[in-house]
């Protein structure tokens, strides 16, 4: 405590006396040390993210494409076209919101159930905890190909299984049916993402004290009440962080959906990320693609920042 006050007032103790310290700039002071340690990470990160972002931001205000390489400022032309002149944009927004919310909610519920099961004293629990990670480590394009085969109209093992169980009477063209294509693609995304939720929630469950369950049991609480009033509230913070990460990943997802459906049938699985890819790489409209990216950033950033401010800050105040 004495040391801290000496730093604040700029004095150093030698023996029983205090002497004023020679003033030093912030960057030569001890307080700047953490920044120096962060520099090797920050510099590449800024080069690889901030520069492309600023470049894309500028590009979105131009009408640059590979035919007319015009980088002059054109204001909000692209954004205006997207919002008022491109029907596909609103189809993609609708699909992306449905995709993101459906995947997030399902992943959370499935992840929570799995984490609760894996938190119990099971035989071979370590083995199950390991294999649950397999979907997460599978490369997205490989996942797209594998699930493309699972949903294949002619050779689908899923259709075969459901037929054997008597749940369907003919093969289903999962990815050709306009009502099933997006849920089918979401099934693949849930399979891919739920291990992350399991890991996060399992870690959160380790921090829940057993005494709370014992005490609530003594007070007559059943399993559902323990889950509702102890487990879920105490997992709130970890859950929010996991949901924030997974929502950002899911919202921006491109590779596995592209490998599975390329946005079809009839744009029923067209996502904003796919639309941006097509605009850039199929039609060479890089400025338009950049504008879609900026809108995606805004769509994602606004609710996340509001949610973080309200929820995390209130949960900090509550604890």
């Amino acid at each position: 405590m004495q040391v801290r006050s000496m730093w604040k007032i700029g004095k150093i103790k030698r023996g029983n006396n205090f002497y004023p310290m020679k003033p030093v700039s912030f960057w030569r002071s001890r307080q700047a040390t953490p920044f120096y340690f962060l520099l090797p990470t920050l510099i590449p990160l800024l080069l690889l993210t901030l520069y492309p972002f600023l470049n894309a931001l500028w590009l979105s205000f131009t009408t640059y494409d590979s035919y007319n390489k015009d980088l002059s400022f054109k204001g909000l032309t692209n954004f205006s076209t997207l919002l008022t002149g491109d029907d596909l944009f609103w189809v993609a927004v609708r699909n992306t919101v449905a995709w993101t919310s459906g995947v997030m909610i399902s992943t959370y519920v499935l992840g929570l159930i799995t984490a609760l099961v894996l938190n119990r004293p099971l035989r071979f629990r370590a083995f199950f905890r390991a294999i649950v990670l397999i979907p997460w480590v599978c490369p997205p394009v490989v996942a797209g190909r594998v699930w493309g085969w699972i949903y294949d109209a002619n050779f689908s093992p899923l259709s075969f299984l459901l037929q054997q169980l008597g749940l369907i009477d003919h093969k289903i063209a999962w990815l050709a049916d306009k009502n099933l294509a997006l849920p089918a693609a979401m099934g693949m995304a849930i399979w891919k993402l739920f291990p992350f939720m399991v890991v996060m929630l399992l870690a959160g469950l380790q921090a829940v004290p057993d005494e709370l369950y014992e005490a609530s049991g003594i007070d007559g609480a059943n399993a559902w009440q323990q889950l509702r009033f102890i487990t879920i509230p105490l997992l709130n913070r970890v859950g929010i962080i996991a949901l924030l990460f997974s929502s950002a990943w899911t919202f921006n997802q491109f590779d596995s959906v592209y490998a599975l459906t390329q946005g079809g049938p009839g744009n029923h699985t067209m996502l904003l990320s796919l639309m941006a890819y097509q605009a850039g790489f199929r039609y060479f409209q890089f400025a338009y693609a950049a504008a879609i990216g900026i809108i995606m950033l805004i769509i994602l950033a606004v609710p996340i920042s509001i949610y973080v401010r309200r929820t995390l800050l209130s949960s900090e105040a509550a604890t």
């Binding site: 001890r30 040390t33 120096y36 520099l39 090797p40 590979s66 035919y67 007319n68 596909l88 493309g148 949903y151 294949d152 109209a153 002619n154 050779f155 003919h170 093969k171 063209a173 999962w174 990815l175 050709a176 049916d177 306009k178 294509a181 459906t261 390329q262 946005g263 079809g264 049938p265 009839g266 744009n267 699985t269 097509q278 790489f281 199929r282 039609y283 060479f284």
Partner: protein, 448 residues
């Protein structure tokens, strides 16, 4: 107690930060200095040997072997040029070419299809080959339609060299035709004859009459031939003006709708089946007929189906028409600065000579674009129905060359066809909406 002699003075914070900074700078500089890729200009322009990268999407083993052998023979015959084989992939080719052209690191020679080359040429990424082709025997020996496929619509420049053709065909289960008493229509057949036969050849859920690739981004690949047969041009130039021409295509769209929902000749599976899956499914008998390109014969042969199969022409209505996909090699404009353009053109001429075109086309189960190569008797054999597919070369037609075509196909025509076939859109709305949106795109891409 005295400290041991091995104790050193504690490291000061300043000295620690100085050493850490030096180490970090060295660690950051080392990979940059040691792994920096030799820029193409340095790669290419040594005095003795010019290096030329030959990027190819060849995937059929016969074609890969033929192209590698062709390059090896070239390198032996031309010790001052080293042609390097670079394997590509059709699935990633456009992304690779777009990004490498933008980054200035494109290979000298790039394999693609004529419509891509026209786009890259207009954008300045591909060199104008008009003078080079006109100064060689390729001008007179290349089939005029192949040259026309590679010619840009506005400036009439040739931005790539055609070397092979894919023709759209119909594979049929000959055993099932025989079983149902239907003769194989080797001399062509009409839509009515096709529908009558296809109804007899359909037995859902055991098998369908016809399978085709109507998946996203490839919907028009098979369907457009039927639209052309009605006399519709889909997107065409009339008197210097480009327009959308879909109204005459109504019978084609109605036919496919009826095949799906009325006759059940084709199934909804076609809306999601990729081109690679269809031959495998046909080989196990899931459909009596399969519409795809003539390249699929090798896949069928290797799948060893338990039935005899034949390859025949699509049925015709007002005219015969199949899709052709002209494959070309483009020359990167940047090769001029690198000093490798002449060397690259030499490689292209070598690979496009008669013998190499024949070897490559046979290996790819396609047809060469050189007239002298196409006249080779190997393309007239009855084995694997080469003769029937070759007869369709004259009826084959390329996709529209307008730069608006890719966006019109991916964003308007393909999705609207899928929506129409899935009963989301009426035929009238399909025609009006696709025409209106198509005209907007034509205006957007019109030369300024």
């Amino acid at each position: 107690m005295k400290n041991s002699s091995k104790d050193t003075k504690p490291l000061s914070r300043r000295e620690f930060l100085r050493r850490a900074g030096t180490l970090a700078a060295a660690a950051g500089a080392a990979p940059i200095l040691t792994h920096f890729e030799t820029p193409p200009s340095a790669r290419a322009a040594t005095a003795e040997v010019k290096k030329v990268q030959f990027y190819t999407n060849a995937w059929q083993p016969g074609c890969v072997a033929a192209q590698q052998a062709g390059l090896d023979a070239f390198n032996k015959a031309n010790p001052d040029i080293k042609a390097e084989y670079v394997q590509g992939d059709w699935g990633k080719a456009q992304d690779f070419i777009t990004t490498s052209l933008a980054g200035g690191v494109a290979p000298e020679i790039m394999h693609g299809i004529a419509p891509w080359a026209i786009q890259y040429g207009i954008q300045g990424g591909y060199a104008d080959l008009t003078a080079l082709i006109e100064g060689s025997d390729l001008k007179t020996d290349t089939h005029p339609r192949a040259l026309d496929d590679a010619t840009a619509p506005f400036d009439h420049k040739i931005y790539s060299l055609p070397f092979s053709w894919e023709v759209g065909v119909l594979y049929v289960n000959a055993d099932r035709f025989k079983e149902k008493g239907i003769p194989i229509p080797e001399n062509g057949w009409t839509w009515d004859e096709f529908i009558t036969a296809a109804q007899k050849l359909t037995d859902p859920p055991n098998y369908t009459g016809l399978a085709a690739n109507l998946s996203a981004t490839q919907t028009t690949e098979d369907l457009i031939a039927w639209m052309w047969q009605t006399g519709a041009e889909v997107m065409t130039e009339v008197g210097g003006q480009w327009k959308i021409d879909l109204e005459p295509a109504r019978p084609a769209l109605q036919l496919w709708y009826d095949m799906l929902w009325k006759y059940h000749i084709t199934s909804e599976a076609s809306l999601s089946s990729g081109e690679a899956d269809l031959p495998a499914a046909f080989a196990v008998g899931t459909s009596s007929m399969l519409q795809t390109g003539c390249w699929a014969r090798r896949v069928l042969i290797e799948a060893k189906p338990k039935f005899q199969w034949r390859m025949i022409a699509l049925p015709h209505l007002k005219r015969s028409a199949q899709t052709d996909q002209t494959q070309t090699w483009g020359l990167a404009s940047a090769s001029k600065e690198r000093g490798t353009m002449d060397a690259a053109w030499k490689v292209m001429q070598w690979m496009a000579n008669k013998d190499n075109q024949i070897a490559g086309a046979l290996g790819d189960w396609l047809f060469p674009t050189r007239k002298s190569a196409l006249a080779d008797p190997q393309f007239d054999t009855t084995e694997n129905d080469w003769h029937l597919a070759k007869a369709e070369v004259q009826n084959s037609k390329a996709y529209p060359k307008h730069p608006a075509w890719p966006e019109f196909d991916d964003k308007v025509l393909g999705p609207n066809i899928q929506r129409f076939l899935q009963k989301d859109l009426s035929l009238d709305d399909f025609i009006s909406k696709s025409t209106a949106d198509g005209e907007k795109l034509l205006a957007k891409y019109a030369p300024k």
